[in-house]
Amino acid sequence: MAKLNVNGKTLDLKVDGDTPLLWAIREQAGLTGTKYGCGVAQCGACSVHLNGEVVRSCSITVASLKPTDKIVTIEGLAPNASSAVQKAWAALDVPQCGYCQSGQIMAATALLKKTPKPTDADIDAAMTNICRCGTYQRIRAAIHLAAGQIAAPAAKKV
């Protein structure tokens, strides 16, 4: 058993202590927005916030967490995808397949919390998540958009 605080709720999960947080989130908490990509903290598809810091949940065991640790997943980021980062992602149609995007959004959100007006170099350093579709150019633009550093494009009217 483990007591975890996920998205503001305390959950009693039937899970062995050596289970990675990723799998506790996906299989016990039932929140599947957090993705499995590599299991070795390389790709960032499993990124969540732990006490406000972005972490790779595949490489943190449930046993290492306290009930007071605050875990936020993509589902708990903002109601109706209303955060500045999510809105910027929508405005620039960032996702292609979308599989890595939960992790990208969590990483970008953490970056902007620490560095509200990031330079390209800040983005390079903070955004180490892998995207195989190649949405990087739009991710960069969307971070600048969310930071208010560039203007939103006009939506094409039909």
């Binding site: 995808a81 599989y99 995007q101 195989r132």
Partner: protein, 731 residues
Amino acid sequence: MAIAKNVKISRRGLLLGSVAASGGLAVGLRADGQFAHAQKAIGASGDELGVWVVVRPNEQVVIRIARSEMGQGTLTGLAQLVAEELECDWKNVTTEQITPGQSLARKRAWGEMGTGGSRGIRVSQEYVRQGGAVARTMLLQAAANQWNVPADELTVDKGIITHGKSKRTITYGKVAAAAAKLPVPDPKSMKLKDPKDWKIAGKPLRRLDTGDKLDGRKVYAIDVKLPGMLNAAIKACPVFGGKLTAYDDAKIKDMPGVRHVVRVDATTVAVVADTWWQAKRALDALPFTWDEGAAAKASSATIAETLKEGLTAEGDNGANRNGDVAAALKDAAKTIEAVYATPFLAHACMEPMNCVAKVTADRAEVWVPTQNGEASLAAAAEASGLPLEKCEVYKHDLGGGFGRRGGTQDYVRQAVLIAKQIPGVPIKMIWSREEDMTHDFYRPISQCRMAAGLDDKGSLVALEMRISGQSINAYANPSVIKDGKDLRQLQGLTAEPSDAYIGYTVPNLSITYAMRNSHVPVGPWRGVNTNQNAVYLECFIDEVAKAAGKDPLEFRRALMGKHPKHLGVLNAVAEKAGWGKPLPSGVHRGIAQFKGYGSYSAAVAEVSVSDRGKVKVHRLVFALDSGHVVNPAQVEAQVEGSVAYGLSAALYGESTVKDGRIVEQNFDTYELLRIAEMPPVETVLVPSGGFWGGVGEPTICVVAPAVMNAIAAATGKPIRSLPLKNMKLRA
């Protein structure tokens, strides 16, 4: 759309993608939402207008999509094409996926479902536009009937039908029910719009499928939950062709959550547990013995030796020849020679291979990320032993495809073989990343020996290319190889006309292929053989231009007079990139062009190489002529995507073989491009009309050669093998 009637469909036939049909079976179910059980019988509700469109009384327009969506934007593009002819209001458009079972039940009414070869739009465009026109015609006829006026007196805009003479209007939703009762006109009789009159197609509209990718709502197959579902982790003998001889399940059967240890087939075992993590943990603890077989001695070095032999061997497995290369090389004022090589590459889709399967005595169902739903259906039937009619496939949008999830549905077969042994229980099988990298269908390995002859004016008079390497068809589709000839491996280098023909005219030309297969399974990998072949041709052309003392752009132009579309993109990219204009100190340009998937691509790279040999790509500029453009914003996204995939491969990509197995098992050893190395990408779309080319794959093949040529310009030394991480670029 070609539909053969009265042909008995076979599982094998579907696997081969043959166009065939059989009638008469129950309509299947559609996977929808978290529990994937929304039961909706497509076409049975009597509200459809032809096969592609349903209009609801509340004005909602449902457009059916048969192709798979894996991020490439085909879903949105196809909907734009249907909506254009339908003349509906775009904001009312939603889409729904056709299942392979539904399609089969209606004699493949929605045509081919396979989504590969950059065909999603270009092969479907005509019949989906006709489908939109059919629905519009029926809706207008229903309004005409209601008002008792001729249909040709009606006009329509954004789903509002107007009779100008009587100043009456009515919306699509109001006449949809009556329209659905009318006879369906012959789609082929529909007159389609000239693309210059498009209002919805051809525009950079937002994707229809972005919303649920922003908050974790989207349900990929790996996220499917079914009542009573168990989870499976799987391991196959890491040596291709090896066998599983024994495993000791007593050692793990008491581990938490473990329910079953299942032999899947001769090479593979699976552990089934309450959760996937429990299954994976137990599998890691399971003792195995393998019979690794003869291939256990193979390595990258032994495979390279086999390929090397093919570079000079007699005979060929396909050729493109004109003139007399041997004589022209002998008489040339100057000759240039080189040997190039490219490695095996894994796909590394972000979503690892997975499939949920449920099998009972008379039904097999799978929930799966697939590029070819009909191949998934065939694999489910084959593995379950049930007829096609008793199988169904619920296609989930893919977390990356890139060719890995196409015709060869190994992961569906495995999931069904597991589920068959635990009847009635849904089994979610997920490959670990390590399994995914160990059992891919890799981009084929090859080498290329080249020779060129220049006359005394520095003009190219002879070009010889000898490609030796593995054949995708020999592995995946041997029946298409006739008389030992396999031109697919010469993709982009064959003669006109073809989807991918060479854009240079050389008076004496010999391009030949020597098939040299290894035990490593191979398959299509975004861009397929255009990748390797463009590296060979386009980097060697730069070497030859340098030997001729000519500018690489001018040298190419002189060879392209008879290929105006190839030349068109080359000129467009040179102009956009400012070819010949000054660059910052230390930055150098490289250029490349190639044709693939019916489209013409060219790129210019701006690159610097540090004193320690570190490459930085500062800018990449592309020109693409795909004939028509359905959504320019999404085409640009595909070009950007091709850079990330292509540059990853050029910089780092390599699946090496040791002791018969693949060495790189995860992203710590199979390095992939991250945002810091993604250069700014600029794209010029130059659709010249009159043909429909692909978009997802064409540009990837010019990424590596443009960058390699820029590196050579920076260092003075040609790059003749990949990946670049293995090259010492500075002495």
